[in-house]
Symmetry: C2
Subunit: 445 residues, 2 copies
């Protein structure tokens, strides 16, 4: 038995009744998070441009785009969903391989479900299979594949999207082998794109190309039989080191959804402990920002390398500034999308506190931790030490926190009265008779 | 100046009047050859399936497909053209880097020109720029990129298609930099697909994705600035060794079209010397195949490794059988597409001569050469030694031979009365007021 065929057989034979309850629960949480991200990213420029570019070429426009009024053919809708879900770098992360697996997989599935008859049960099942495929291929090639410069969310995500759509279209084993092969041979996306629209383009293309791989294979378009493991296959060509057993070991028993994490703040993850601690100080002491005289941060040395920026003027720069994160935490008690706009970065009160903040790298602090001291006008000092930042595996975001994050993003695309309906549908997705209704509910009325 | 930007500036600033005459001539030859290949591949199953798969999703169907009556949006038409041009492995080859550069570039351009106003002069110019971009990126990463398992025709071809469409759409330098970046980050295609429909899928996707990269960039979709040379850019991620100077050195002066070659026979290139010699024997001696008693071939040892197959029953197997090639040369005096069908392989006379043929590896014979002896029923022996096989750089196919190859392929897709019109248009392409008329002429009436 070869790796590609073994994976294909699992995908074809898996039944949704086999999914453990905790995996189903985590899949729902991932879907709440990713649909929220799609709504948050729907109004962004990268999303707009992709819609504008492909509208003139789009077929019968029965594919819906999450959070948008325009329609496209579902293959292009998958592309656009992939861009919007990842454009804020706010989607889920697998700490074990740095992959954002929900974006490519859910983006394809939501587009497919918008114009095909798909029950919530089948949708959730296909999502789990696509997510696991993405992460397992990532595990098998991590870290060499990532380290050399591949953006695994795209390169592995295309396999997950293909697996998920292949499952929903009811492929047999041979067609699934070809689907995996045709996805493997479209695997692409280099990290040189980071900091540009090219980055969210990766899960978009992965969603679309995986979707198309399944349709082609279903119609008899052949691929090599050993797309993953062959001597000129995915793993050998795209990774200097590899352990292909990680694709297939424990299939159906071990699920990486159990070790998926959600970002509470839409910025560089190394800033999260400082933001978290500052929000906690703000809440615990009902801090008046005007009273803040100085802020001292002891952070992991890596934070200084990646996010030491002080002199900033744009929202994008704010994402890579630990002092900006601390400042919005102390001034506003939150760090949502609104805190990473140009306006927020130039808000005089935020700027004053940011300028009063001094970070210092300390090898004793882990990347999950921080020590914050806030000196007030009366000379008193408030302090907070965190070992684990919110959103880490040791301190996962609660369902309520995921809902709050969803709302924060959804209001950017939807009238308030639609937000709760969609949120509720996401939390109960596997009970829905037709996921198309959920997607239709994300179209602004 | 960086590599990506220097290339972009050249592409933007190049004027067709700057093209040397010999390069224009070779571009016309390449276009005659590749349009012929598109016609030869148009009726193939891989082409059919792609059309069938994407028709339901295709936008306003104003894009024409070479050799087909169906229409698709031009982006999908580019994909289908890429499949048909490469499906017989009959397109051109750059011996210096094994790239088939015309397929991805011309496939995108023909689709674009089918529904946009493009003069022959501009078309030929864009083709040259796309061809050179493809080959130069290939040179910069050869051989490590190819050796590890990338199918460079796809991986480098996407950059050429992007450059060509970017040129025709009149991009400025910044947009061209992004076009190159968005193409680089879609670079894909692994050699594990060889022997399946996944192989011709590569130049198809390259054509489509390059085309789309240019459209996205034109609308303001950004990419990284250093798509080719950055620390996480194309060359570093996709090649263990690289020499990026080969992308830019001699731009506008050195053209790889001058070292492009055309296959006279639609089969593994190592068989070509034997076929060529057998056809010459057939012609020189007006050989009656019935008189053949034995055939002895002395070939390069590599031929035995790659094409030693004797016991064959399908056309595809015939492509990898040197004795089949020799047999059709001696029996039919030709080795066109009709000699690589299942019927031809099972033709009793071909089979008899094939079974009478014995190849032997001889280290004294180069891969360009062969020694053939044919023993006749009367005991006489005819012999032929070749140093250079037809189609090599040292013995290029003549214009007349390219025309004959074109006709052999075109009749598979077109009524005879259309063939000469299209062929004539290809030979005079840079004088055409609108290349769309040429493409329209390839649609079977």
């Amino acid at each position: 038995m070869t790796v590609t065929r073994e994976l294909a057989e699992y995908l074809v034979e898996s039944r949704s009744a086999d999914l453990p309850d905790d995996v189903r629960r985590e899949a729902r949480r991932a879907l709440v998070n990713i649909v929220g991200c799609a709504l948050g990213g729907a109004p962004e420029e990268a999303t707009e441009i992709a819609i504008r570019t492909f509208t003139p070429f789009s077929g019968p426009k029965d594919g819906l785009i999450v959070g948008r009024r325009e329609k496209l053919d579902p293959l292009r809708a998958a592309l656009v969903n992939g861009i919007s879900t990842h454009v804020h770098d706010y989607d889920d992360t697998l700490p074990k391989n740095y992959i954002h697996a929900s974006s490519p997989v859910a983006s394809a599935l939501l587009a497919y479900a918008s114009c095909n008859d798909v029950s919530g049960e089948d949708f959730l099942h296909a999502f789990v299979l696509g997510f696991e495929t993405t992460s397992r291929v990532g595990n098998a090639t991590y870290p060499s594949h990532y380290d050399v410069g591949w953006h695994s969310t795209g390169t592995c995500g295309v396999l997950g999207a293909a697996a998920a759509i292949g499952k929903l279209t009811g492929l047999g084993v041979q067609d699934m082998v070809w689907t995996i092969g045709l996805a493997a041979t479209q695997s692409a996306g280099i990290r040189e794109m980071f900091g540009s629209m090219g980055k969210p383009f990766h899960p978009g293309r992965a969603a679309q190309n995986g979707y198309e791989a399944a349709l082609l294979a279903r119609n008899g378009f052949t691929s090599g039989e050993y797309g993953l493991e062959g001597p000129r296959g995915f793993a050998h060509v795209l990774a200097a080191d590899r352990d292909l057993a990680k694709v297939t070991d424990g299939l159906g028993r071990d699920f990486d959804l159990r070790v998926n994490t959600y970002k509470p703040f839409p910025c560089g993850i190394v800033n999260h402990p400082a933001i978290d601690a500052c929000i906690q100080l703000k809440e615990e002491h009902r801090l008046d920002a005007a009273a803040i005289r100085a802020v001292r941060l002891r952070v992991a040395p890596l934070v200084m390398d990646l996010c030491g920026k002080r002199d900033i003027s744009t929202g994008l720069q704010g994402k890579f500034s630990v002092v900006h994160g601390a400042a919005v935490g102390l001034v506003r008690g939150r760090a949502g999308l609104d805190e990473y706009t140009d306006a927020a970065v130039n808000d005089p009160e935020v700027k004053r506190v940011r300028d009063a903040a001094v970070p210092e790298g300390d090898p004793a602090i882990t990347e999950d931790g921080v020590h914050v001291e806030v000196e007030l006008a009366d000379g008193s000092v408030l302090a907070k030490t965190l070992e684990h930042s919110l959103g880490n595996l040791e301190r996962p975001m609660s369902d309520d926190q995921l809902s709050a994050k969803f709302r924060d993003q959804a209001v950017r695309a939807l009238p308030a009265e639609q937000v709760e309906t969609v949120l509720q549908a996401c939390w109960t997705i596997d009970a829905l008779p037709a996921v198309g209704d959920l997607v239709a509910g994300t179209v602004p009325r």
